[in-house]
Symmetry: C2
């Protein structure tokens, strides 16, 4: 049974055996849990998913990091180093619809839980794996974390100031960006399986996943024959002036507004001139065309900034976007956290966690039938030992107690 009855109708009845940790794997199975699948994390009885102690909140409690990526899941503790524990996991794999793992290269096979082994007892399994580098890649044995994938997958090469070093974007695209793509393929495989009963093996490398998110940079390379370049907050794809972040009042580190005037819509520039009180420049040949503005980009930027500096970033966004010119205040994570708008719309929800207390976090952002999917707490370590071993394997309370006594779970 899902921890999330209201959403259970999407993937209700789908059992996912989740041997993932940290973020790339867990972000993938979490969205399946949000859609109502029963996602059971298998964790080491000694501490569990190492994500539980990353970015720790209070000592001895699960971290915010863990809560973020494990909402709506269940947790079972099983010692994979004990023969009985391993046998338990094999029995669970035989009863699962989906198996997901993101251990270091070769680890799952050494445990005897590789694809061929699992398929032997469960031919219909959808067996999904995340690694840092693809099988057959020169680096297939290499360890990867988020930042390694972002470096080797091209993301960093196109992020930063034009005269500065590559920068890692603040997003954990190497992890969550990978997890989202894997979730799509798992769902595709489940859809087919519903008709055919066929399972299959899915493999995704974090480096490879990055290419999906920087495809526009490959368009630039195809056009120029050169590497796509970093360009600060401006476009990779040639000049569209004005375009970029402009400083706002009162001048704090995130007091900026992004203003974009599309090259395809000449009305943007004229509307912008009106809203910033420079209608006198409408028709001025120095700025009238896309080409002219590109040649005078510094002047154009100065004209826009002279106005934005007099305004709060939200006010600037409101005024500019009201006349049909794309504008976005650079909002920081505290502003987003505190803005009641996201909570009212269900984009941010409060996880009510038995030990960690209330934690407001981004929930699944798609509205289904006018509402976002409900958020349920991330599980305590081993919280569902009795329930899951009973439900999946038919174990009684006494048998589970014995397993615990013997240190297997």
């Amino acid at each position: 049974m899902s921890a999330n009855p209201a959403a259970a109708s999407y993937l209700g009845g789908v059992r996912i055996l989740d041997l993932t940790q940290f973020e790339a794997g867990p972000s993938s199975t979490e969205v399946l849990a949000w859609l109502g699948a029963e996602v059971v994390k298998v964790e080491n009885p000694k501490g569990g998913d190492p994500g539980r102690s990353s970015f720790r909140g209070a000592p001895g409690q699960d971290s915010w990091y863990f809560l973020l990526f494990n909402a709506n899941k269940k947790s079972v503790t099983i010692d994979l180093k004990s023969p009985r524990g391993l046998a338990l996991v094999k029995e669970m794999a035989a009863r699962a619809d989906v198996f997901v793992e993101n251990f270091a290269p070769g680890a799952i096979e050494r445990l005897g839980l590789g694809y061929e082994a699992v398929r032997a007892t469960n031919p219909g399994i959808v067996y999904a794996q995340v690694k840092g580098f693809g099988a057959g890649s020169p680096f297939e044995r290499g360890l990867a974390f988020d930042m390694i994938a972002q470096a080797a997958g091209g993301v960093m090469s196109i992020t930063g100031e034009s005269d500065g070093p590559p920068i890692k974007p603040g997003t954990t695209l190497g992890d969550t960006g990978t997890g989202m793509l894997l979730a799509i393929s798992i769902l595709g495989a489940l859809y087919r399986r519903k008709t055919t009963g066929e399972g299959e093996r899915l493999e995704l490398a974090m480096q490879d996943a990055m290419l999906q998110y920087i495809r526009v940079a490959f368009a630039a390379t195809a056009t120029t024959g050169a590497p796509a370049q970093r360009n600060g907050s401006k476009l990779l794809s040639g000049k569209a002036a004005p375009s970029g972040v402009y400083p706002c009042k009162p001048g704090g580190p995130n007091d900026y507004v992004y203003v974009y005037t599309s090259r395809a819509n000449p009305a943007h520039w004229r509307r912008l001139l009106e809203v910033i009180g420079r209608a006198d420049l409408i028709g001025d040949p120095r700025y009238e065309t896309v080409q002219a503005r590109a040649q005078h980009e510094e002047e154009v930027d100065a004209i826009v900034a002279a106005w934005t500096r007099q305004h709060d970033k939200r006010e600037a966004m409101r005024l500019i976007s009201a006349v049909g010119v794309p504008a976005g205040a650079v909002l920081d994570t505290l502003e987003l956290h505190e803005d009641p708008d996201f909570e009212q719309r269900g984009i941010m929800q409060v996880m009510r966690h038995a030990e960690c207390g209330d934690f407001k976090m981004p929930a699944w952002p798609v509205r289904h039938g006018g509402r976002t999917l409900p958020l349920a707490p991330a599980p305590l370590l081993g919280e569902h030992n009795e329930a899951v071993l009973g439900d999946w394997l038919g174990f009684g309370v006494g048998e589970v107690a014995k397993l615990r006594q013997d240190g297997v779970i």
Copy 2:
């Protein structure tokens, strides 16, 4: 029939009526096409999806940008401003399984193709929409492009040097990042629909989608009560020295290697010292613990950089990752484009396009049963008018010719 027989088994028989343009919507429907759905783009007979002329390759040809986000789809031209054209689209909507649009706010309703109107003739429809800002948000009427979503969705606030302005990551996360999340919800809805026949409305705002990719920054804010800060290429989450990009030979703009030593694994630092020929520093109290290295971060970075400067970035990556320390060369888009590894593994594939010629691009990166899904060409404008109007609506060749003659298609 899908343009992609080998993949048709995943979403074979699923008909998607695709009224999207540019990237957020098209990236979403493209992955459904890769999985074998029949995705039919409805385009303006005069020029079609404006993405066809963005980042143009050769004059008069479809752009690389368009090819990237419209692989494996079909194209039908219909003039939505003509009553007969609009009636055609309504008939197609009545026969579709999924309807997707990402017009400016209010536009689809003004066309008479809003959710209620489509549902009236097709109660089982999965009706999906992308907007810049969510319904009920203070900015719900605002236009959004990729960079606006990245500004207002927090991404830019955590990207950049610690003493510099916010930077837009080179990824088009506001577009493709949004598209991937929408695809997940569409697949969830399709999975349920296969059993229940029920459709529903899905809505995703680009601003809201960004929160999903910066969740770790919210963990930082929950811990500190302050906005998560920019930190160049280093972690948002406190110091892990050494960690970051280190310069390599011969000193070009992307000659860097990312090196990461996990705070959870003290062996990383010692292994790194050995590989860089500084085993003499093993046990040195200035560098032995995570805390000590954080205090001496500049010295630590200098020690690592002294070695990396003597090595090519790929060689540095190879040597460091071979001893079990996470390392990633900063690869640029030309290097990724030219590396035969990606083409051999099917991560990059060549689109053989009738007018644009051969175009190598990132394909869907998940391996299904050991192979990636095949790439088929993006459609020419109106290429499938006869086939689709015949197949979906039963029109004969003569009827289609008449529609063309009358300027409806």
